[in-house]
Symmetry: C2
Subunit: 223 residues, 2 copies
């Protein structure tokens, strides 16, 4: 059974990459830079977007990935940024990640001609989102200090698959057992030299730096 | 492609349930009660086990599920409780959950004749672990207050699939935007009447109640 399953997974990833390249072509044709925003559940992706999209100097839209519901999209609606909801629920409890085909299905609803930046908020999960390209230019990991300093070692593919690691909830540092130096050491072991940023989406600390980064999106990852 | 995929998933879940029943038969034959411990990454499953296994009045073992590495198993090793590591990594970044077949492959390494309780620490993920039975008697969700009060609404299958929700990290309540009443209201909307327990694995608050619950494991879920 395992070998059959591995082949199914390989085929699915090949098919996914083909669709991801088609998405990327469409984004490039419209001059839209695409960010894939990933994290564990509750790391603060939506709060970070609430804070950083307000005052952004470029035109952006958000594609909001969730198993079900539109709680996060509703939170972002007040920002006057176009938000498109994409649900992965399909009767089995839902998919634990976005894939290229799901994103492709949302393209007609996205105002690609009117924006320069599309942020795709992926489903909260530290495993599968790293395996499925969606046609993005860059991938950002949001990692909360409340999750513990061992996470880069436990989910290395995820931390290796991104161009920026946003270390969020630093306002909690006095209240949790989290040694920043040790975390950065673990992170460097799995992804040497990756760019990091320390923020508190809750208090606003570091958000300006993140917003500036979004406005330039300096790295373009291979499709 | 989607319909093919749905059929593959249905077949996989059917096959999984068959193996889960075989696991359950083996556990029952040995008189071992099995707990499937699930949560998002960094919710504190391992710390809760460190705290509660010390002083447990029944004989227990732990099956430690991780994508890769043995960090959590190493942490539990000092408790003098048998710990068996089960890695889901397979070259694609690893599986994001345990399934019945993985657990079955670990049975020969488990001292079933010497224990009364087996705790299976699942991979940190709020979607797929809920879809794959492993032959357990009960399922426990650990939910950290740092993840936010909306999680039951965003991952309803997971919160519906368990007999106990352990609300962890309550020592952080003064420092996070988390309204316990609202969380419990959301939880009750997706899983009316589910048993809850408020603990801080870090400070030890509530751990004695959890340990007592483990010693009795009062509910037996259908296989």
């Amino acid at each position: 059974m395992h070998r059959v399953r591995v082949r199914v997974v390989e085929d699915a990833l090949d098919a996914n990459n083909t669709i991801a390249r088609a998405n990327r072509d469409d984004f490039d044709r419209h001059g839209v830079t695409v960010v894939n925003l990933m994290s564990a559940p509750g790391a603060g992706k939506t709060t970070l977007l609430e804070r950083s999209l307000a005052g952004l100097s470029i035109r952006a839209a958000v594609l909001e990935g969730d198993v079900q519901g539109s709680l996060d999209a509703d939170r972002l609606a007040s920002l006057h940024v176009p938000v498109v909801q994409l649900n992965t629920g399909n009767g089995f409890g839902g998919e634990c990640h976005l894939d290229a085909n799901m994103v492709r299905s949302a393209l007609p609803a996205l105002p690609l001609e009117e924006i320069e930046l599309l942020i795709v908020e992926n489903v909260g999960n530290l495993v599968c989102p790293a395996e499925f390209r969606i046609g993005e230019d860059v991938r950002i990991m949001v990692s909360s200090v409340a999750e513990g300093e061992d996470k880069p070692l436990k989910y290395p593919l995820m931390f290796r698959a991104c161009e920026l690691v946003v270390i969020n909830k630093i306002d909690l540092l006095p209240h949790v057992d989290f040694d920043m130096d040790r975390y950065l050491h673990h992170l460097d072991a799995v992804h040497p030299g990756v760019r990091t940023m320390q923020v508190s989406a809750r208090t606003g600390e570091g958000v300006e730096e993140f917003r500036s980064w979004l406005e330039r999106v300096p790295v373009r990852a291979p499709a």
